[in-house]
Amino acid sequence: MSEVAPRIAVLVFPGSNDDRDAAWALTALGGDARLVWHAEEELPEVDAVVLPGGFSYGDYLRCGAIARFSPAMQAVTAFAADGGLVLGICNGFQILCEAGLLPGVLRPNASLEFVCMDVPVRVERTDTKFTSRCKPGQELVIPVKHGEGCYHAPADLDDEQIVLRYARGANPNGSERDIAGVVNADGNVLGLMPHPEHAVDPLLGSGDGALVLASLMDAARERLYARA
């Protein structure tokens, strides 16, 4: 029996450029991805939301600072408050931080250089809705491509919220404590700088990102069943 396809909204801001890749990857993994324009005030009925990478609103002022006030983001905030699953990738992570849905903020890379490379990322927790398909301590190879990925954590950031770290010596941007991905206290919102949607087929270098997206879809499917 084939499994039901979870419905996942992929937001599209002016300046997003990984929205279609994210939708493609989610579809390839069995999801039902729907692109949602930033001006929409309501989300379609979905089981999860993905905020894709790119340069929303030109990254003006601070990356993610303008996107957080878009109509669709108000809907995402309400969706998250209701326990909805939200995954922010790269610029999506930056938006979630600016929106206060995740702690901390992303700053210009310590090197001041744009980085574009595959990086090894260690899975610190497998008991989250975004990493359930990973093994404890597993190293995933996932590409990063960003100019502002240096994570600055608030002083009170709980270690438990650090889900992904760059492997020792492989921190590409100067992030504090090698943090590559954090989850909110409730466990339903995750942001990460690496791009899992660009690593879903070994033919293109790595299929490791599929573990993150498939974990998200497992959780989205559970939510769909629970509501049915």
Partner: protein, 79 residues
Amino acid sequence: MRATVLVRPKAGILDPQGEAVESSLRQLGFLVDEARVGRVIDLDVDAATADEARGEIERMCERLLANPLIESYEIEVAE
């Protein structure tokens, strides 16, 4: 009413831009230290008094112009 907002990286926050500027100035022979790079926002605000303008701009800073986690701000209103 004309106003200027200065947004700066807070003390202790890594500022790679400031470091790059400082190192370039040193290469040019200038003796500088602790260079930090911030942002200037000039704007007209509709307000009857300078105090009212200041209050309005403070709200702008808290909501959008600065990220309180990493940035401090200073407001100058032309009297």
